[in-house]
Structure formats: structure tokens, C-alpha cells
């Protein structure tokens, strides 16, 4: 980034002053409702029925789609918008992910978009008037060999050059930061050090979807659930509407944000994407007393762990090795993840796991997303977030709304266009996004 002021220094700690999110939730509203036995709460968004025509339609009611619709209405004044979701709101990867948020990626292009998102996270609960439980508890990535530690410090310097907080910790500092970790140097993969982004952390995934849905609905956006898109109708090279399980909807702008189903929806307009749909799995344990107040991940032993506010240990790892749309993963992956977790955190060995699930993520050859126009006029894609798009939710929605409204990408979105797979200008983030999400 040659300019003096990096792109991501746009909005700071949210975008205060945007409309949406009424009626107001507050301590006062809570007290008033308490007096009425909580009978007076209004539903947070309407159960909208599809209208004949919209100015723009967003396919996919996950966090990214809902954020896009919200910013279309709040920033660009485009209010005749529908979000069309085949299942229920937030039932895709938004409601299945392990909620890790950070912006410590290697390249300038990534720093721009993930840091833009992180700044929006910092103000999101206020902006949307909805508590998304954003908790900046820090994200610590550990290294298990001399080489990995050197590579990590190279990465830390690159990240700091982009004005993003990042620091190296030695084993003793790690032990102090995370008392339950095993720093014994005789284990198979000893902890040699790590790097920490203190501003990273977690948020409540469902609340993000609900917060955006409520704020968008307040601005007139129709959120249409149980409505599957089955076709993209074109007239020549222009989009003119979408076919759905609930009939045809006319529109001249369509934004597709369907994660694991991106190839399926793209094929409806004869568009091919470089993505592969893979299961990504996670587990949560029974709830226990607080033992871990940060997020720990290890790329080498393939696992990461945090503790939810309810006390459950939340564990995850890398993607399954073959393509699938089945929303369930194969057993060797969690087995591997658990053995790594137990070696690093012996205290976890007697925990019982409560739930285990998978989501279908759309992985890209360079582990970076696609935010792009297509050969079809009025048809836009936002996909390829793979294993790590939750953290980008607000930033992704913000720049995608901008792309749809203005029919040209802004400087943050531009490097993520589809044509990078022809020019070769890839944004290779395998080192930052391989196992770590």
C-alpha cells in the first residue's frame, strides 16, 4: 500500500449515526418491559412475503447477505431490497461457525478488508442497537518449531507495518497468559512461542444475523425466509429477475452471498467459480467453570479452542479433505483435533463433548474471498470466504453493498474481483487462513 493513509483507516470503531434498529433496546426498555411481565416486546423483523419487484435482491440470509442489505438501505438509500433465504435466517455458516474475529492477515489487501471489518465490529452493538456480545479477548496463535516461530515474526512485522496490533510472546509469557496450556518442552509438538492480536476475539454469531436483520427490516428491507432461488433469469447479458420456490421476482440487481452453494447458484447463470465446497466441523463440550479467557489456535497441530460465555469449550480444526454438500463431516478430522487439544491442554481430557456439527464452506485457491461483478450485468458475487468469513461480516457487507449500489468496486473490494484468476494477481493467505479461521 503506497498511500500514506492505509485504506482501512476509514470508519473508526463503527459508523455511528446510521439509521435502523428501532424500536430502541435499552436498560430503560428492559425495565419497562419487566413491569409488564415482558408481554410487550415486538417481533424483531416482519415475516415478509415476496413482492413482485425490488430494486435489489440479495440471495442468502446469512450474516454477509443481511449486512449487505442493511448497508444498501442505510448507506446508499436503496430500501426496496429483499433478502431471499432458502432455509432460516442465519442457518448456514453464520450460525455454525466458531466466531473467531481477528485482522492479522499477511497481505495489504487482506489487512484492508479485515481491519475495516474489525473496526466495524468495535462499534457494531451501538450501531445496530443490538448486543452482539463482541468480546476482544485476544487471539493467540502458537508456534511449535523454530522455523514456524521465525515465519511468525516475519508475519508479525508485516501486520504491524499495516498498522494492525500484533505481538510475539515467548513460552513463559504464554504460560502466564493461558495458565492451562502445557508448555513442557518434551511433548511431541512443544510450544515455542506465539503471536497475539489483543483486539481479536469472539462475538455471538446469531446476534449478528439478528441485529442486521432487525436494523434492515426497520429500514424497509423484506427478509423472506423459506424461499429457495432456483433460477437466475437473464435477458441477453443482463439480469432481469430470479426464479424462486415462491414464484418469480423481478429485479435488475442481484447479489449472491450463498457461501457453500455459490457454485450451484453461479451455474444458474452459466458462471463458473474457482471454489470448492467442503465441510468444516466444530465441537462444543459440556459447560464448565471459566478456564480460558482468550482464543488459542495452532496451525501445526491443527486445532483451535475458546470458551463460550456459557462455559462450553468450543473446538475446531481444518476442513475435510473432499468436496461435500452433506453438512456433516467425517470422523478422522475431529479425532485428530481432539488429540491435539488434549496434548496442549491436558485439563480437557475428561471433558464430554455435547454437540458436533459441520457447515459447507466455499474454499478458494488462494484462501481469499471473491467480491466481484460478473459477465452478467447486474449480477454480483460475494463468496469464497471459506473457513474464515465470519470475522469479515460487517466489512464484507459494507463493500458489497457499495459494489452493488455503484456497479464498481471500491478500493478495498477491487483486488477481490474474479479476474485475479486470469491475471494471476492472487492474494495468497494460506498461511493466515489454513487452519486458523
Amino acid at each position: 500500500m503506497a498511500s500514506e493513509k492505509p485504506d482501512h483507516e476509514g470508519p473508526d470503531r463503527g459508523l455511528s449515526g446510521l439509521p435502523g434498529g428501532k424500536p430502541k433496546y435499552s436498560a430503560f426498555a428492559l425495565a419497562r418491559q419487566a413491569m409488564q411481565y415482558h408481554q410487550g416486546w415486538q417481533r424483531a423483523w416482519r415475516d415478509a412475503q415476496p413482492r413482485d419487484e425490488y430494486d435489489a435482491v440479495i440471495i442468502g440470509g446469512g450474516g454477509h447477505g443481511l449486512a449487505t442489505a442493511y448497508y444498501l438501505a442505510a448507506v446508499h438509500g436503496i430500501n426496496r431490497v429483499a433478502v431471499v433465504e432458502k432455509g432460516w435466517l442465519g442457518g448456514g455458516n453464520t450460525g455454525r461457525n466458531t466466531t473467531i474475529i481477528r485482522s492479522n492477515y499477511l497481505w495489504d489487501e487482506s489487512a484492508a478488508i479485515y481491519e475495516h471489518a474489525l473496526k466495524l465490529w468495535e462499534g457494531m452493538s451501538q450501531d445496530l442497537n443490538f448486543n452482539v456480545m463482541f468480546s476482544q479477548r485476544g487471539v493467540l496463535t502458537i508456534a511449535h518449531s523454530e522455523h514456524e516461530l521465525r515465519e511468525m515474526s516475519r508475519r508479525v512485522h508485516a501486520i504491524r507495518m499495516n498498522g494492525i496490533d500484533s505481538e510475539i510472546l515467548g513460552p513463559d509469557e504464554i504460560r502466564k497468559f493461558v495458565p492451562i496450556i502445557n508448555i513442557d518442552q518434551t511433548i511431541r509438538y512443544p510450544v515455542m512461542g506465539g503471536f497475539l492480536q489483543k483486539r481479536g476475539g469472539t462475538a455471538r454469531h446469531d446476534a449478528v444475523a439478528w441485529g442486521y436483520a432487525r436494523a434492515a427490516d426497520d429500514l424497509g428491507v423484506d427478509i423472506i425466509q423459506n424461499c429457495e432461488v432456483t433460477g437466475l433469469r437473464r435477458n441477453g447479458r443482463r439480469i432481469v429477475g430470479i426464479e424462486t420456490s415462491r414464484g418469480f421476482i423481478k429485479t435488475r440487481k442481484v447479489g449472491c452471498v450463498v457461501a457453500g452453494h455459490s457454485s450451484v447458484v453461479a451455474a444458474m447463470a452459466d458462471i463458473r467459480l474457482p471454489v470448492a465446497s467442503r465441510p468444516l466441523q466444530a465441537l462444543v463440550s459440556e459447560p464448565i467453570k471459566p478456564i480460558l479467557d482468550t482464543v488459542i489456535m495452532s496451525n501445526a497441530v491443527h486445532m483451535y479452542v475458546s470458551q463460550s460465555d456459557k462455559g462450553e469449550m468450543v473446538l475446531g480444526a481444518g476442513v475435510d479433505k473432499y468436496n461435500s454438500y452433506a453438512q456433516r463431516g467425517s470422523f478422522p478430522v475431529p479425532e485428530h483435533m481432539i488429540s491435539a487439544a488434549v496434548e496442549l491442554f491436558p485439563v480437557l481430557s475428561r471433558l464430554r463433548m455435547l454437540r458436533h456439527w459441520g457447515g459447507i464452506v466455499d474454499t478458494c485457491p488462494d484462501a481469499s474471498p471473491i467480491i466481484s461483478k460478473t459477465d452478467v450485468e447486474g449480477l454480483y458475487f460475494n463468496c469464497g470466504w471459506g473457513t474464515g468469513g465470519f470475522k469479515a461480516t460487517p466489512g464484507s457487507g459494507y463493500v458489497f453493498a457499495d459494489l452493488i449500489a455503484n456497479d464498481r468496486p471500491n478500493s478495498i473490494a477491487a483486488p477481490y474481483a474474479l479476474d485475479r484468476f486470469q491475471t494471476g494477481l492472487l492474494i495468497d493467505e494460506h498461511g493466515a487462513a489454513g487452519v486458523a479461521h
Binding site: 452453494h261 457454485s263 450451484v264 463458473r272 467459480l273 474457482p274 471454489v275 470448492a276 465446497s277 479433505k321 473432499y322 468436496n323 461435500s324 454438500y325 452433506a326 467425517s330 470422523f331 478422522p332 485457491p365 484468476f421 486470469q422 491475471t423 494471476g424
Partner: protein, 125 residues
């Protein structure tokens, strides 16, 4: 969890295998005759069907040999396993092979020896 029948070793647990992704992607021989967009079809674009998928697998923790597999990406049913260098034999496998967009790409056309012989003929004349 898959039970995969290695054509050389018999039925084995999925964890012994590694998956090599989409099968039947031939390297274009006449690369320089392709545009960047056409070459991208070969290099980056992958079939990602919801349904039957033709893919390559390797018995990594066994005989270490490659083979092809036709597998459904929704049910995970393995429809057939067939050797490298040959096409699918089942009706469903053949249909999936013929239906792939890749069959119509310039990159695939440029992978056929016919392409080469045309070049040769040009030289002779």
C-alpha cells in the same frame, strides 16, 4: 466416513486415502495458443457439483497408487471406482463426464494430440 475399495488393496478406511480433487483435467499441450482466461479454466477453475462428482484419490497410507472415483457429494455414495487413464463406465458416471462444462473448453481441446498434429500439418504444408 467412507469405506473405499482400493482397486489394488481392497476395502479400506477413508483415513488411509488422500483426495486429489476433480478428475479428467488434461494439461493443455499447446499452452501458448490459449488466452489467459482459457488457461485459467485449466489452472484454477474446478467443477464443484452438488451430486455426482468424478474425482481422483490416492491410497496414500497403502499402495500409494492413484485411481478415479465417481462419488455423490450429497449422499457420499461411491458409484464406481475406475483406473487412472480411463473414463467412467457406469451410466451415471458417463453422463457426469459428458455434462461437465470442461468438455467444451479451449484448454481441453488444446490437450488433445489432434491439436498437435494439426500444428504439424501446418508445418509440412
Amino acid at each position: 466416513m467412507l469405506l473405499i475399495t482400493c482397486p489394488y488393496c481392497g476395502p479400506r478406511d477413508e483415513s488411509e486415502f488422500s483426495c486429489g480433487g476433480e478428475a479428467h483435467i488434461a494439461r493443455p499441450l499447446a499452452e501458448s495458443s490459449l488466452t489467459d482466461a482459457e488457461f485459467a479454466d485449466y489452472l484454477f477453475l474446478r467443477d464443484n457439483p452438488k451430486g455426482l462428482f468424478l474425482e481422483r484419490w490416492r491410497h496414500a497410507a497403502g499402495c500409494r497408487r492413484w485411481f478415479n472415483m465417481a462419488r455423490d457429494t450429497v449422499t457420499h455414495e461411491i458409484v464406481e471406482i475406475y483406473p487412472m487413464g480411463s473414463g467412467p463406465a457406469s451410466k451415471a458416471g458417463k453422463a457426469a463426464h459428458a455434462a461437465s462444462w470442461r468438455r467444451d473448453t479451449a484448454a481441453e481441446a488444446a490437450s488433445k494430440p489432434a491439436h498437435k498434429s494439426r500444428a504439424k500439418k501446418d508445418k509440412v504444408s
